[in-house]
């Protein structure tokens, strides 16, 4: 079984889906230019020579049109995968996503479907305020959109393939520090999890989270980069050298819409403690929603208050020392966990 980075796994998913289904095509800025980058983070590199420029469509710098054209093509029977260079640019597309793509099915009383995928890189990576935000929470608040966050190479392929086959608009948030992009597009401070990715046709279903580290003392729910920081914090807290070793269970929700609430509740019933970790801003984040759901559904199982670890309510800063303060660190995750004991 080959090892792949997340960027390679995403590319493989696109390749397989385009081979399988004539209706699938990619559209976005700089995705298929010869001598170009293959999108901002190399995911579509080489695909235009495999599939041609009719199916790997380079666009003008026109984000609203990219989203709207993808929605219109989806409405007329195609299955577009639209590339967003940085998730922050989703704000340029907001009317087409929130008012058109998300609402057309409802407004048509179910007679139209919009099977489109938006791929959007998130995460603060030394680029300042406008190429850095994590926007998952915004989109979980829009009925009609699904929100997906692959954190491993295996999931990247399986979730993207599920997204392409889903009959609804799906936003796939990918983390810049997890891609494993190489060469000139490599990222400083990247983790780049390489994983075994089967070449056969498998799907990772939506609404099924997974336990990345089993434990009994506290439940940590974290996505994307925060998953890896939480796993690292869990190892430190569990080490025999620790003052009071804590055995944390770390859950990767994989998809935020739909959310695998049962998996989280089951874990909290076991551990009695919950910490939610997100790179998004704190207020009204998806972590707040999970905290509310757990307190509504499982309040009497809790032995301590629910804690959120998130970016403060400020735009992402530039200076490395400020950015390190902004993005939740292993230490902040450990502090939050330890405060519950």
């Amino acid at each position: 079984m080959p090892s792949m980075t997340i960027a390679e796994a995403l590319r493989q998913a696109i390749r397989e889906e385009m081979q399988r289904d004539e209706r699938v095509f990619c559209i976005g800025e700089d995705i298929g230019v010869e001598g170009g980058f293959g999108g901002a983070f190399t995911v579509t590199l080489g695909l235009s020579s495999e599939f041609g420029h009719d199916r790997i469509i380079d666009t003008p710098i026109s984000e609203a049109a990219i989203a709207g054209i993808a929605a219109g093509a989806a409405m007329a029977g195609m299955r577009p995968i639209a590339d967003v260079q940085y998730a922050d640019f989703l704000f340029n597309m907001m009317d087409q996503l929130a008012n058109q793509a998300a609402k057309l099915r409802y407004m048509s009383a179910g007679s139209i479907s919009i099977p489109m995928v938006m791929r959007a890189p998130v995460g603060a990576t030394g680029r300042g305020s406008q190429h850095a935000q994590s926007l998952e929470a915004f989109f979980t608040h829009i009925p009609g959109l699904k929100v997906v966050c692959p954190a491993t190479a295996y999931d990247a392929k399986g979730l993207l393939k599920s997204a392409v086959r889903d009959d609804n608009p799906v936003i796939v948030f990918e983390h810049k520090l997890l891609y494993g992009s190489k060469g000139a597009r490599s990222e400083k401070g990247a983790i780049s999890p390489v994983g075994e990715v089967p070449l056969d046709d498998y799907l990772v279903p939506f609404g099924k989270g997974t336990i990345r580290r089993p434990g009994k003392d506290v439940t940590i729910v974290a996505n994307l980069l925060m998953l890896y920081r939480s796993l690292a914090a869990a190892e430190i807290m569990a080490s025999p050298g620790a003052n009071r070793p804590i055995d944390a269970e770390v859950i990767d929700p994989r998809t935020l819409v739909p959310l695998d609430l049962d998996l989280i509740l089951e874990s909290v019933r076991k551990t009695g403690r919950l910490v939610v970790v997100e790179e998004d801003n704190l207020t009204n984040g998806w972590g707040a929603e999970i905290a509310a759901l757990v307190s509504e559904c499982s309040f009497w199982d809790l032995d301590a208050p629910i804690k959120r670890v998130a970016a403060p309510d400020v735009p992402p800063p530039f200076a490395p020392v400020l950015e390190s303060e902004y993005v939740p660190s292993e230490q902040r995750i450990m502090d939050a966990v330890l405060s519950l004991f």
Binding site: P60, G72, N99
Partner: protein, 333 residues
């Protein structure tokens, strides 16, 4: 590449079959009577919310859509009843939707501003100004990738041409040679704001040159001019020669919505445009050219009255949506 003022060719008009003339006349009368009736029902309190009436602009919907097939797409606006009727959405379904009934075109989930029926090539109307332009371009991209000769039409008012996404969409349609027709219904006002106060060009169609596509100006109150101009644009699109910006000069005889007192324009201006009423003008033309006899036109008008009465009865007697339906149709399972 300056915008071109379209001159209908009498020789072309002479080759239009009589049935086509009568069909366009029927469409225009149907729209007019539907809108007048909807307004009465609104005043009686039977239709909730508000209405954006299409009265005065009927020649645009009738003339453009007469060039389309059922499989072609149209994308409409917050003022969509005329487009919907012309494309073949059933008057019953539209009227029931205005009433908020469960039998409406959108089962009560859309309302006046979102009527449509995908089975006749009309997705729900898009009530965000300019919002439908990339959707129309996207549908056209799909038709091109699917190697069909179908086309899509984006209808919009003059106001939409000042939205950013409109620029993005026309540019993309032009560079990719998409089979889409951008039909601007320039009715001289965006809500209360006059065209002249927000454009520093004389015509929207002049902007076509910025995208390298033909810009055509047609008399939007002359259904034959619209029909012929749209015919050329649709043929270009079907042949793979790309998009056209077709600007139809017309006038919204009623206010923007039902709460509009129209104090931003003069009664004299309104009277001038009423003299150019598209239906009265076409009726006179048909009689003068002996394309139809008075009794034929009356028969069309009677048929429309029956359709309107049928739509009202259907809407009034239809059930309300089940309240539990509020949570359905968000996602496709």
């Amino acid at each position: 590449m300056a915008a071109v003022i379209f001159q209908p060719d009498p020789l072309v008009s002479a080759h239009i079959p009589v049935e086509k003339y009568l069909a366009m006349y029927q469409t225009m009368v149907l729209i007019r009577r539907f809108e007048e009736t909807a307004n009465e029902l609104y005043m009686q309190g039977k239709i909730p919310s508000t209405l954006h009436l299409y009265i005065g602009q009927e020649a645009v919907a009738a003339g453009v859509i007469a060039q389309l097939r059922q499989e072609d797409y149209i994308l409409s606006t917050h003022r969509p009843h005329g487009h919907a009727l012309a494309k073949g959405v059933h008057p019953r379904a539209i009227m029931a939707e205005l009433f908020g009934k469960g039998t409406g075109a959108c089962k009560g989930k859309g309302g006046s501003m979102h009527v449509g029926d995908i089975r006749v090539g009309m997705p729900p109307a898009i009530a965000i100004v300019g919002g439908n332009t990339p959707l129309a371009a996207g549908a056209a991209l799909a038709f091109k990738l699917q190697k069909t000769d179908l086309v899509s039409v984006s209808f919009f008012g003059d106001g939409a041409a000042n939205e950013g996404v409109w620029h993005e969409s026309l540019n993309a349609a032009a560079i990719w040679n998409l089979p889409v027709i951008f039909v601007c219904e320039n009715n001289l006002y965006g809500a209360s704001t006059s065209f002249k106060s927000v454009f520093h060009v004389d015509q929207v169609a002049e902007r076509a040159s910025a995208y390298g596509m033909p810009g055509i100006i047609a008399d939007g109150n002359d259904v034959l001019a619209v029909y012929q101009a749209a015919g050329e644009a649709v043929q270009r699109a079907r042949k793979g020669d790309g998009p056209t910006l077709l600007e139809c000069m017309t006038y919204r005889q009623c206010g923007h919505s039902r709460s509009d007192p129209r104090t931003y324009r003069t009664r004299e201006e309104e009277d001038t445009w009423k003299l150019k009423d598209p239906i009265a003008g076409f009726r006179s033309y048909l009689l003068a050219q002996q394309l139809a006899a008075e009794n034929q036109l009356q028969a069309v008008e009677s048929k429309v009255e029956a359709q309107i009465q049928d739509a009202i009865e259907y809407a009034e007697s239809s059930p309300l949506p089940e309240p539990a339906e509020v949570t359905t149709d968000v996602f496709k399972e």
